[in-house]
Amino acid sequence: MQVTCVRIGDSLVVAPEGRVDESTWKDFDSQLAGAVVQASRDGLPTLIIDLSRLDYMSSRGLRALTSAGQQGRTVGVTIRLAAPNEVMREILEISRYDRLFDIDDNVPTSGGP
């Protein structure tokens, strides 16, 4: 799956595209793990996952978020979610992941969230 990764202020912003489902979750999982390592290595305290170009995420994708969150806690990187579309916002609500992660309406253009 297509994932872009850019630094904005003191955050690393990861932006996956398309769907995270049974055929793409392993790649998504791997990309998130790599981003946590990169944020830690670059001394960035926050990893923002830009959901604006994601159409859908299955339970495996959601659990990949949890794995990344657990990995981040061990290296001092906090994960925030940003800019979910209507479907993604509903999935986060149905799964109660809106209680596990802070969700911002927009991706920061500069500085922190």
């Binding site: 299955s58 339970s59 959601l62 659990r63 949890t66 109660r96």
Partner: protein
């Protein structure tokens, strides 16, 4: 094949409180305010058309017990939670004047809430009854004898009149038992648990998979469950918690979520899913909300034929 749910609650039997029932009655009267309901027929139609399930009924509070009825000569049951008591009474009432009978009982595991119904299982008092306990745990007999031993219960296991047999099954092997093919799968649960797939002579199949955690660290192993669920007419799955709960505060408790169950069923091309093993901390409204969330997620995730998502309750019958 007919699947009857005699106990659908997880962990601990519960019952609606007086205050909860009073609230349902008050809400129903408010909803009926101004309507001209003169007959029982009018009232029945109002109840069915105007009240949600949680508003007009209850999911019940007996612990795990599910009957698989494929018209065989013997009874097939999954687990002996507190729902077993009601099943026993119904089984006797279904065959008035007939003594005895054979009961094939399949145990997911030996935790208390899955065996606590046996001391109150009336057919076991009949010397003409044969009870076959099928389990993948080698110590099933010890567990059942221990729960009825003195200090915990007044009537020891040895006093049952019925003829008990214990059979230890191996996961992954097909067993043909009184016309039903039964296969077990190992599941992640403290002390281990096992799911069962039942296939009748006509090829209809139901899977009972409760007390099963699909842990984040084991996502690569879930294909085994997709294969076990493949094309089943009904999957009865442990959906005790939200996905977020199983990934955080309830991790490693041995239970799963509605979203994982839907994804596995969708991949397996199963026809129906029954949400099962409801959290005893959840009231009817919370269980109904989980059902509504599940229906919504099924629509959002659908990529082929729809998956019918039921919410099991004590007394539900599903014809496959």
């Amino acid at each position: 094949m007919i699947v009857r749910f005699w106990g659908t609650r997880g962990v601990l039997p519960v019952a609606a409180t007086a205050a909860q029932v009073r609230t349902k009655v008050a809400n129903a009267l408010l909803a009926a305010n101004g309507l001209d309901l003169k007959s029982r027929k009018d009232i029945a139609r109002f109840i069915d058309e105007n009240l949600t399930f949680a508003g007009r009924a209850t999911y019940g509070g007996a612990t795990s017990c599910v009957e698989i009825d494929a018209g065989n000569s013997s009874f097939f049951l999954c687990d002996m939670g507190s729902g077993l008591r009601e099943f026993g009474l119904d089984a006797l009432a279904r065959r008035p004047g007939v003594r005895g009978g054979k009961y094939n009982i399949f145990l997911s595991h030996l935790h208390w809430d899955h065996i606590m119904g046996l001391p109150f299982f009336l057919p076991a008092s009949d010397p003409n009854t044969q009870i076959v306990i099928h389990s993948c745990h080698g110590n099933a007999e010890q567990a059942l004898r221990r729960q009825q031993a003195e200090i915990s219960f007044h009537r020891p296991f040895e006093e049952w009149a019925a003829d008990f047999h214990f059979i230890t099954m191996q996961a992954g092997q097909d067993y043909v038992i009184d016309g039903m093919t039964v296969t077990a799968i190992a599941q992640d649960h403290p002390g281990a648990s096992f799911g069962y797939r039942f296939t009748d002579g006509a090829g209809r199949s139901a899977v009972y998979s409760t007390d099963c955690e699909h842990n984040i660290d084991d996502m690569y192993q879930e294909d085994a469950f997709v294969a076990f669920f493949a094309n089943a007419d009904l999957i009865i799955a442990d959906t005790m918690y939200s996905l977020a709960a199983t990934s955080s505060t309830k991790e490693n408790r041995g239970h799963s979520s509605n979203l994982v169950a839907i994804d596995l069923c969708r991949q397996a091309k199963a026809k129906r899913l029954a949400l099962f093993h409801h959290d005893p901390l959840h009231d009817d409204a919370e269980i109904e909300q989980m059902h509504e969330d599940s229906l919504r997620y099924e629509k959002l995730s659908r990529d082929g034929a729809p998956l019918e998502v039921l919410c099991a309750y004590d007394g539900l019958e599903v014809a496959l």
